[in-house]
């Protein structure tokens, strides 16, 4: 079972990748959404570990734990947007489609930055990050960290 520190380090790896992708967000907006979601997963798992709960073993179990516990529901409200956006980004492409052909029809690159990264991911970071242990929480690289 990965520890709180393991998940913080994995979240930080995602943050580094996210920072890199954001410099070319118009070209890689699908990956911005996807990496933002994977960072959120590790922030949430770090929170579970910090609170002495077992980390989850599947996306489904994690969603259940977030939505069914009142303390976690604020996190879930934002986490869910990240999950859905990354799912559309990864799995819905329609080269012969009409109104929808690719991810940018769902969410343009600027919206990915403002809605997914600077709103939803920051909300998850703030809410879950506040529940990390005092000594390790400061190690979490956050959106906008230098």
């Amino acid at each position: 079972m990965a520890s709180e520190l393991d998940h913080i380090e994995l979240a930080n790896r995602n943050q580094e990748a996210l920072g890199y992708l954001l410099t070319e967000h118009e070209k890689y907006s699908e990956w911005v959404a996807t990496v933002a979601f994977y960072k959120a997963i590790h922030v949430v798992e770090a929170m579970f570990a910090a609170e002495g709960k077992e980390t989850t073993t599947s996306h489904e179990e994690r969603r259940d734990r977030l939505k069914s516990d009142r303390r976690n529901q604020h996190i879930y409200k934002h986490y869910r947007h990240l999950w859905v956006a990354s799912t559309v980004a990864r799995y819905l492409h329609d080269s012969e489609g009409g109104d929808y052909r690719s991810f940018s029809d769902y969410m343009n690159p600027d919206k990915v930055c403002s809605e997914i990264v600077r709103h939803r991911l920051i909300e998850v970071e703030q809410s879950a990050g506040a529940r990390l242990s005092r000594d390790l929480g400061s190690k979490l690289l956050r959106v906008g960290s230098p």
């Binding site: 939505k67 409200k77 869910r80 956006a85 559309v88 492409h93 329609d94």
Partner: protein
């Protein structure tokens, strides 16, 4: 012989009851039960397997009305949403998924917030205690593109 087949006349009531009520005790989990079906083709099963099967059957009996209630609730939610093109109840990653296809391709913060709130409501509904369901809204893609989100073995179209 009395009126009931297999029950002797003047047999004490508790003996008669024991014949009607077969007890399977989990403490006997390594024991075996011999089952004689209608065609007399007898077979044997471990007590534990039989108890587990009974528990599953009991759960399935309670699951059915909850599932019907879920379908009603999803339909009611759709009634209030004119901005949907189609909706399905399907299976994805081994669990139920309420999949809504929106009329507009672009992401809607208001729609997603409403769906998140509904998702949390469903998770906390005590009348749906046996059911785990996720919710997801997709843009209006072609049937072929959407088909990868629908389980070919289980996808029910819903209407509000």
């Amino acid at each position: 012989m009395g009126d009931k087949p297999g029950v002797m006349e003047n047999e004490p009531a508790d003996v008669e009851l024991k014949k009607l009520v077969l007890q399977l005790n989990y403490a006997d989990e390594h024991g075996h039960v011999v089952i004689t079906p209608e065609d007399q083709d007898r077979y044997s099963m471990r007590v534990r397997t039989v108890i587990d099967a009974c528990a599953r059957a009991a759960k399935a009996e309670r699951y059915e009305p909850q599932f019907a209630f879920l379908v009603q609730r999803l339909g009611r939610w759709l009634l209030d949403r004119a901005d949907t093109q189609a909706a399905f109840l399907t299976m994805r990653d081994g669990r139920l998924l309420f999949l809504v296809v929106r009329s507009e391709p672009s992401y809607s913060r208001e729609f997603e917030d409403a769906l998140s709130a509904f998702d949390i409501e469903l998770a906390g509904d005590t009348d749906l205690s046996l059911i785990r369901v996720d919710t997801m809204a997709l843009p209006p893609a072609s049937e072929q593109a959407l088909s990868s989100f629908l389980n070919p073995d289980f996808a029910v179209a819903l209407r509000g």
